[in-house]
């Protein structure tokens, strides 16, 4: 295909006066938009970020807490001694049948470490902000509670297709024959929280305070304090699935954590006192 040849030198200069005001503005707008995109809004981010809670660095799984109270649990892994009192308390409170469980404690063994040979990891429903089970359920039988963010079940709607069991990356669900529906952890909403209690049965039963339960939107709450510090690493399970879980993990028998709980900001904040 042949294109007509254009000799630019022979073209008549139209001059800037032929460009209308409107066109000029459009051009400027375009320029600003492009610059703005490439600067990722950094230049003009003058709005206050105060009040938007952020978890510790590197944990982009929490940006903000959309619920109030935003229930959450911090598990201080190294405090867990595998006594299984939490599992027993959960089974008793929520009438969990023998063939199922809502929470369990996993065991990780190590060889060649100097301090420990075994570590216990309690797991339960992560009450994800982007819960895959909620998306997968065909009949909205499982849903995010609009107030508390707890992932709950409306048993009468459950058709028992078990898609949610496979969608869950935390193995938090099982089919309960007694309920004729999938059963899962609801942070003891039915049995305790809705009746005015402030602790789940597992966190109340934990003798070492490995499980701490609370409201993430309250800056005075223990779970808020444990998550919003830079001294100790906080992580979640399977972050690669992008589910924005609400169960946080940390080690937890460290001095810095004690200091956080005592209300101090840094370990050596006041050398004169120590």
């Amino acid at each position: 295909m042949n294109f007509p040849k254009i000799d630019l030198n022979k073209l008549k200069n139209e001059g800037t006066e032929s460009v209308t005001v409107k066109e000029r503005r459009n051009f400027l707008k375009l320029g600003f938009a492009i610059t703005g995109v490439y600067a990722s809004g950094k230049i003009l981010s003058l709005s206050s970020t105060y009040g938007v809670a952020h978890a510790s660095e590197g944990s982009d799984f929490v940006e903000k807490y959309p619920y109030n109270p935003h229930y959450s649990m911090v598990i201080r892994q190294s405090l867990c001694i595998d006594c299984e009192k939490c599992v027993d308390a959960c089974n008793k409170t929520n009438h969990v049948p023998e063939y199922g469980y809502r929470t369990r404690i996993l065991t990780r063994k190590y060889e060649g470490q100097l301090d420990k040979k075994v570590e216990f990891i309690p797991v339960l429903c992560n009450h994800c902000n982007d819960a895959p089970c909620v998306r997968a359920c065909p009949t909205k039988a499982t849903y995010k509670d609009p107030v508390t963010g707890i992932v709950r079940m409306e048993s009468k709607k459950c058709i028992g297709c078990k898609t949610c069991m496979l969608a869950c990356p935390y193995d938090a669900r099982y089919f309960s024959a007694a309920r004729h529906a999938i059963d899962k952890c609801d942070f003891c909403w039915e049995e305790r929280l809705s009746k005015g209690e402030t602790q789940t049965s597992c966190s109340a039963a934990c003798p070492t305070d490995a499980r701490t339960f609370g409201n993430m939107t309250d800056p005075e709450n223990i779970v808020f304090k444990l998550v919003h510090q830079l001294e100790e690493t906080v992580w979640v399970l399977r972050p690669e699935d992008g589910t924005k879980p609400n169960i946080f993990y940390m080690k937890g028998n460290m001095e810095s954590v004690d200091n956080i709980l005592k209300g101090q900001k840094f370990k050596y904040s006041d050398p004169a006192k120590s």
Binding site: L106, P138, T139, C158, I159, C161, F175, A177, L237, R238
Partner: protein
């Protein structure tokens, strides 16, 4: 009674009389499938009464077992029959036209068989009918899959009615809607697996795409199997036109098997480099699922039929029957090898905990196998009954030629003469591809 006579004339429906004339061996075969279906239903109902968790092999971790595999097998075949038959009676591929009636009939039957199986897998099937309607979750693939397959079944039944009525323009329209809805439903079934992002073996766009190609392959295989088997039952159904159709479907199926081989090779190769996937892939290549994979999925499902179909040249019907019959078994294992291995890796495997160290095992229980056989025997029973009662899906030759039409001696179909046209001229016009 008069209505029955009319239907018989218009649809080629022979009814129970045809069964009375059938040979004792044929009736015994049908009886065996009926018995198996009743036994399967009884065992399934027993499981429902005592509670599936007592009698089924599925567990908390592997919650979809052989029943879901069998369901997938049935609906894949159903969609495939719809796809292959639509080449002819929706898109006007002349060669594919003679198979339409049998393919649509079997597509409906396979779908119903699939529903029979899923009935015994879903814990509360009756709730599904209510809450699928009044509490739909539009972001759920499961909801779309169920709803679209319901619509698909309705379209296919209407289409089949119009095919019987010889109303080809409406059957074509319904076939088109059925095809669109069927493909949407079927790719959603792939997405039910493919959108579970906690399961790396399934996650991704691979499964919805694979499912469509795999369905077309299963459809080609199934229609060749049921047609060659029908020719054994009633040799009259074979005529020049049908032979040409078989040849065309054989070619398409060879192409589709090659496509699935290509898909499978790349699934294996890409899977090996990802840690969690490679555990599953290795269990298929060298581990517990090696026999399933190599003997059934690869050999019976792809390599042997590919070889035999090429050898058959599309006109050696006994060879096609054996190739596609064995291939149906292979395809069943193909479905099983998608459903079960996808759940074998525990979700906490990467955490390195003791509880999630090993792959999770699953063995189908007696109750599950019987409930799956319930649906499969319903399909077999309906097939054999249909071949007799619907006169091999042909029109009655001597009784019900519509006015202005005649039976083409070459192809066995009904041709219509235009004004002032002789039979010979009409035949030439219909078969201008040949002459």
């Amino acid at each position: 009674m008069e209505i029955m006579v009319n239907i018989s004339k218009r649809w080629g429906y022979h009814g129970v009389d045809a069964l009375k004339k059938a040979s004792p061996g044929y009736l015994m075969l049908m009886g065996a499938f009926a018995l198996l279906a009743v036994a399967g239903a009884a065992v399934g109902l027993h499981g429902m009464v005592v509670g599936y968790h007592h009698v089924y092999g599925v567990s908390r971790e592997i919650s979809w077992g052989i029943l879901i595999s069998a369901y997938v097998f049935c609906v894949v075949t159903s969609t495939g029959l719809c796809i292959i038959s639509s080449i002819g009676h929706v898109f006007g591929g002349e060669a594919f036209m003679p198979i339409a009636k049998r393919a649509v009939f079997m597509s409906i039957i396979f779908m119903l068989g699939g529903f029979c199986i899923i009935f015994f897998d879903i814990e509360n099937p009756f709730r599904m009918a209510i809450y699928n309607v009044i509490s739909p979750n539009l972001s759920s693939n499961m909801w779309w899959m169920g709803t679209l397959y319901g619509a698909y079944l309705v379209f296919m039944i209407i289409e089949y009615y119009f095919l019987l009525e010889q109303n080809h323009s409406l059957s074509r329209l319904m076939g088109f809607f059925g095809l669109i809805v069927g493909i949407a439903a079927h790719s959603n079934l792939g997405a039910v697996f493919g959108m579970l992002h906690g399961r790396p073996f399934w996650y991704g766009p691979y499964l919805p795409i694979y499912f469509i190609f795999s369905a077309a392959m299963s459809g080609g295989c199934a229609i060749m199997f049921v047609t060659t088997l029908a020719a054994r039952i009633n040799p009259e159904i074979m005529n020049q036109r049908m032979e040409r159709a078989m040849k065309a479907i054989c070619q398409v199926t060879i192409f589709l098997i090659s496509t699935i081989i290509f898909f499978t090779i790349w699934k294996i190769v890409t899977g090996i480099v990802s840690h969690e996937k490679s555990i599953v892939i290795m269990s298929m290549v060298t581990g517990d699922y090696a026999i399933n994979f190599w003997c059934f999925e690869v050999f019976l499902g792809m390599v042997l039929p590919l070889f035999l179909l090429i050898r058959s040249r599309g006109n050696n019907f006994p060879m096609i029957m054996w190739a596609t019959g064995l291939m149906m078994i292979g395809i069943f294992f193909m479905r099983y090898d998608i459903v079960i291995p996808g759940q074998m890796v525990p979700v906490y495997h990467a955490l390195g905990v003791e509880e999630a160290r090993d792959l999770i095992k699953y063995t189908p229980s007696f109750h599950e196998i019987m409930a799956a056989l319930f649906g499969l025997s319903v399909i077999c029973f309906a097939y054999f009954a249909g071949e007799k009662m619907l006169n091999g899906h042909q029109l009655e030759k001597h009784e019900i030629v519509p006015e202005g039409g005649y039976i083409c001696p070459g192809c066995g179909a009904i041709h219509f003469m235009e004004e002032g046209e002789t039979e010979e001229e009409a035949m030439k016009r219909h078969h201008k591809i040949w002459y």
